[in-house]
Symmetry: D3
Amino acid sequence: MRILVANVNTTASMTANIVKSAQVLAATGTQIIGITPRIGTESVEGNFESYLAAIAVMDAVTRYDGPFDAVIQAGYGEHGREGLQELLDVPVVDITEAAASMAMFLGRCYSVVTTLDRTVPLIEDRLLLAGLRSRCASIRASGVAVLELESQPERAIQAIVAQAEQAVTLDHAEVIVLGCGGMADLEGRVRARTGVPVVDGVAAAVAIAESLVRLGLTTSKIRTFAPPRPKRVTGWPLPG
Amino acid sequence: MRILVANVNTTASMTANIVKSAQVLAATGTQIIGITPRIGTESVEGNFESYLAAIAVMDAVTRYDGPFDAVIQAGYGEHGREGLQELLDVPVVDITEAAASMAMFLGRCYSVVTTLDRTVPLIEDRLLLAGLRSRCASIRASGVAVLELESQPERAIQAIVAQAEQAVTLDHAEVIVLGCGGMADLEGRVRARTGVPVVDGVAAAVAIAESLVRLGLTTSKIRTFAPPRPKRVTGWPLPG
Amino acid sequence: MRILVANVNTTASMTANIVKSAQVLAATGTQIIGITPRIGTESVEGNFESYLAAIAVMDAVTRYDGPFDAVIQAGYGEHGREGLQELLDVPVVDITEAAASMAMFLGRCYSVVTTLDRTVPLIEDRLLLAGLRSRCASIRASGVAVLELESQPERAIQAIVAQAEQAVTLDHAEVIVLGCGGMADLEGRVRARTGVPVVDGVAAAVAIAESLVRLGLTTSKIRTFAPPRPKRVTGWPLPG
Amino acid sequence: MRILVANVNTTASMTANIVKSAQVLAATGTQIIGITPRIGTESVEGNFESYLAAIAVMDAVTRYDGPFDAVIQAGYGEHGREGLQELLDVPVVDITEAAASMAMFLGRCYSVVTTLDRTVPLIEDRLLLAGLRSRCASIRASGVAVLELESQPERAIQAIVAQAEQAVTLDHAEVIVLGCGGMADLEGRVRARTGVPVVDGVAAAVAIAESLVRLGLTTSKIRTFAPPRPKRVTGWPLPG
Amino acid sequence: MRILVANVNTTASMTANIVKSAQVLAATGTQIIGITPRIGTESVEGNFESYLAAIAVMDAVTRYDGPFDAVIQAGYGEHGREGLQELLDVPVVDITEAAASMAMFLGRCYSVVTTLDRTVPLIEDRLLLAGLRSRCASIRASGVAVLELESQPERAIQAIVAQAEQAVTLDHAEVIVLGCGGMADLEGRVRARTGVPVVDGVAAAVAIAESLVRLGLTTSKIRTFAPPRPKRVTGWPLPG
Amino acid sequence: MRILVANVNTTASMTANIVKSAQVLAATGTQIIGITPRIGTESVEGNFESYLAAIAVMDAVTRYDGPFDAVIQAGYGEHGREGLQELLDVPVVDITEAAASMAMFLGRCYSVVTTLDRTVPLIEDRLLLAGLRSRCASIRASGVAVLELESQPERAIQAIVAQAEQAVTLDHAEVIVLGCGGMADLEGRVRARTGVPVVDGVAAAVAIAESLVRLGLTTSKIRTFAPPRPKRVTGWPLPG
């Protein structure tokens, strides 16, 4: 089974990290293939960047010319999943939704710990649209920018763990979801400090994607995610 | 006052019609300026096309080099408004939201009559995120494609009026919202047949935009719609 | 265009202030006409007083014998708007709803800062019924009574600004709504201190009313707001 | 124990009927005292009439000079209960809320069968504000005006029973609530035809009021229903 | 009238206390009969224990061989009420629901003060399913275990009063509900300290049960609570 | 990996069928172990039976003396999952929740097609508590009793397919969930007739359970699902 994991930003080292941690957790026989968008921003932290990422991921996935069985969009709270579902016949899994969905099997409610405060509304919106918000105890920002996860790992960990602890203590979260594609490495430390299960979105998405493929399930094409109707298109596929 | 009205599709004749009907309804002294995206699809009827339109509108608006006081995104149920709000200092008004907001002053609940069934979920999502859904009695598809509004006007009118009548009779709608940027001309006929107020999104959006400008109100920049952070961007502005 | 602005309390100086600030913001050609109820309380701060005001406003508006194009009910969180809609053919705009509706175009969520704690439930109810509550971050009471806005302006301003700051900091409000008909003067100071847009209900309502009139839109008469059925009435119109 | 039952309309024969059926169901030792408003309309079927009734009931109750232990507002979906709660120290029970509350002990969900279609929104609002709407399967109008319950009883019964049957069959109601103060006599016939429990609002309200009094419980005065603050009032108490 | 009050735990002294306080509040002519389950745990504080209690109560009630007119399940937030409703023809009242329902007639919103933190989710679930949660301001745990209510009464009272005060001050509760079958004695002290009405679940349930019986109302048998279908059953009735 | 699949009824042939179909879909290396409760009813179709099944499954699982890595409760809409989560350290997956969760990755909304009408409320409740109801388009009963799935397979299929078709056509379902543990065989036929993805709960639950085990995730023990406190228990473990 081949699963395409699409990073939402243009930072190739982050794609590599995501792939590395995803491959470790994948089932035997699953091959994780990372793709990095050709256009967009080095990190995605807001609406403009997220809309650009949506198109960039669709561009990257539709240009990929090897075979694949499922696609994971590895951005937390980002736009675009519905577009990919129209363009593809294989299952598409968003890590925001996969993480929430998995967390709900582990405790009464979960909290998301994410990067900057400005990304919180995007995550809220995605969970609301996905129908996965009612058991979300809180979405907490650590104040750590996406790229600081790599450049200042120790400070990032401290800030994230601090928010996770507050989510458990103040918000009654029973599970912590790591709300960024680049946080996979933190799982163990957050769990050690909070004593609750910690869900990484990429890991959850890989498991969901593998499950869907193995069960022979793919996106319903009957209405919302039917292929685009044939019509005159300008500027797409993106040049280059 | 100069208001930029951004069509979401690439059909210039539709932009012209939107501008024409908007100008009629605008206040004295308001100048309506239409812009048509350089990229995208000739009509927008689904998620992929809507995400592409989101970027196309941001491209078109940020390339426009004249002065303007407000922007209207003239697509019903489309993505992108939040991105424009980050990129601009002037108010941004989405016609889906403007129409719903205005309709709520006129009756207990409203129904939207739109084009194809596949656009209904997009409209539902936008109203849900905007917090304007609880008084929406229904969103009904007429089965008329966007371009058929121009090419087959009489059939389109019949189908739209039929759905409007059902919305009033079966769904208890007290106001009808025309759910497409290109439906402004139908207002009188739908009102005549249903006996209820009919709100056109572009007209509503122009009025809201004029009001915001005159009251000196613009987008809050404190959190969700703060300008994008400075960072490395690839492929944006779009080439060409 | 002539817009009737009905104060909900019997304090004529407050009516005068409301009219004065409304006239400044109105479009050229709009005439603002204030009316003060003959009966009721000098300020409205609770359910009994609000129900009395509802009748008092209907009395005052139906007794007014000049022409008018729209009516604004200038009480924050008060009862009665639905009754006026039944009695009149012109649009009726409640300032609670107008302010919330306008605020939602400016930021992700808004907070209302009002007078006494006991008025908070009335505002909550009105926003809930109007379908405008989901994006309300909080309703905060300043502890300032309505009449103290005039008698102790400096203390009032301090208390209101303090609550507005907390709404932004603690409740994540991105827009502040001034929750009382007599607060229009505070707009500038609250904006200066919080850095977010500030919406005054009367100003918002004037803009909405002007828009509705210019677009030729008025209350749907098909069901909820149909005129009262002919029947035996006792004690109405109120004597005197 | 003395319970004041306030009719919301000015039709004394309807008050008498309400009292008669309430007295039959009351506990031994409970005395039911009916009061008919001095002002208002002969039936209440809409917002204007309901707001007028709110004041009329407050007028009638506060003018009543005998002792009483609780008050029932016997109008279905009417305004005003919150005002009475501020003015009185004894419990106040609205029949809309009492009926819904009682019905929820009898089945998973209930439907209300009421008079005219235009009263449905008022009932919806009251149930929503009371937090009793989530288990309401539907509110169905019989098309029978309030006064026709007395003048055309047989036609009324047929229409009401027909709606009750549809509520059970189509809406999955397991309990029927009779949505008008003047419907008490129909209880047996609706039950016989539908096979489900039928709740009359006045009967439910008497039982709730008796319970509250016997348990020594009365309205909380700490915030929402605190007595009105002392202030200058004009035109109240109503003259005459 | 004979009302069966089923304790959910196996502690007979608690049953006796519940009966004693219920009898005091019951109407003249009402006989309260306590039953203690044969199986289960000495206190119920969690899901496993609550599910066991559900079966234990059904066992105890169906084994009881005297006549009775209604059943009260005297556990706060426990499972099982729906099962009893299927098995019996007389009304079944859960104290969680009765207390909430009664409290809503007394103030805008209520808070529940209960025993251990781990019981809070069970209470939340029960209120949610009952459709009685929207006016619940908070559910607060005192940290007192059920059996400590008897063994350490003074400490229990202090802890419970402290939470009740915080519910009023911080959560805007206007009514306090005592969230445990064994808290009836505390009513007076909590009321004295908070100044708001205090509702004990058993008292509320007795009043509701008496009301239903007197009004001739019982569980709807049309769908959800129809008797179990005849089928092969193993191990039930429970042996012994 | 060893996964215990607990049937909720006492019909061993149904357990065998569930195991057989689950084993086919399980990953290489996963061993499915079926357990049939010692007590309970031959099929579970209502609240009493479901509560009895809850205890019966806890009894069966805690008596099972081999090692296992996860437990699946294979009853659709049944009680008890939360109790198992307290008693066990391994993940517990309910098929109602697993199916809904998986379905949400495949389409905008899903419908459940189940057996008898009386089981619909139980499924609604479970989805509501699980926070998975907002994307449920409908829950439709086929009128087929659980045991008829085996005894009258052809009639059952016709009835189920008919409801699935209506769910797609009338309720806008884009995915069908088979709402009974014994429906796994129908998947292909329902898919063929409706053209939409069909999710079987047991298959979904196996995939989720495998995923949780492989990711090293298990139930949070911090609050809701902490082990029962040590206390005096009577009649448990169940005798025999």
